[in-house]
Symmetry: C2
Subunit: 164 residues, 2 copies
């Protein structure tokens, strides 16, 4: 069973102390965060956010993919967020490997052609943050006046540094 039983046992404890049934779907601080899925990023703790305050979108790298754009559009249109924060981080797996490396690995392993898969690995961390911010700012279905902050999170210090 791996870890799953532990997870459900922990959830029993969470249920006992739960006192958030009054919260609404709309994030009270009107913030949407787009960040990497990395296990070391406790987004709420890093940003000092509490339950109910922000939408949190995460994927490998913290990339403004089509799906992240879908989520940001939903966050703004349906849930009323008005500020976006993009977080990439130091020591990211997506900076250590190339798309070609990943494709070669899975091609050999599964004996199928992954050539259409894009993984969005990147070489320059700050430049990558700038590109994601730019993609969001130029999306035709995101208001031009929404602030989009681009940041690098340092996994060695816990510090969030603003790039854009």
């Amino acid at each position: 069973m791996g870890q799953i039983q532990d997870v459900f046992n922990s959830n029993e404890k969470y249920v006992k102390d739960y006192r958030y049934s009054h919260l609404k779907p709309m994030p009270s601080k009107k913030i949407a965060v787009l960040a990497c899925m990395d296990a070391r990023l406790l987004i709420e703790d890093i940003l000092g956010l509490s339950i109910g305050e922000a939408n949190i979108i995460r994927n490998a790298g913290g990339i403004a993919t089509e799906d992240a754009m879908r989520s940001l559009i939903v966050s703004h249109e349906l849930l009323g967020t008005e500020e976006f924060i993009v977080i990439n981080h130091t020591d990211c797996g997506m900076q250590k490997f190339s798309d070609e490396h990943i494709r070669n690995n899975i091609k050999q392993k599964y004996n199928k052609d992954p050539s259409e898969l894009q993984f969005y690995t990147f070489a320059d961390l700050e430049e990558n943050v700038r590109q994601q911010v730019e993609k969001i700012k130029t999306n035709p279905f995101i208001p031009k006046d929404i602030p989009v902050y681009g940041c690098v999170y340092d996994t060695q210090t816990g510090r969030l540094r603003r790039i854009v």
Copy 2:
């Protein structure tokens, strides 16, 4: 400036108490979670997870989109996760609105054609969880023997209920 200055002020405090620089990118519990971006879902708290233990992927609805699949493949191949947990939840915005509703809204607002955009709204919560689990299980670049658990999270009680 909205909330962004508060966020950076909070981060200053986080940095002072930071003691996680020893953690590696590989999640120590070898878990990857795919969940909704909803502001009421504190994933680590719900599942009893600590920093460094799991990759956390989030988007609008907790949908196994192409991008979520990309992230799960990266999580397994590069970061060694071996169990996946999919979490959708009650009172989800993606269950209250239709794709057509969202497309109509943004079409009028931005005067551009969003007909190619898919939002993955859904009608049946449990069925939606089953579909996401199925999409992951049948992906050609995910090992057939990886357990994929599908769950519904209740925002009224904090309880996680296993569906698949």
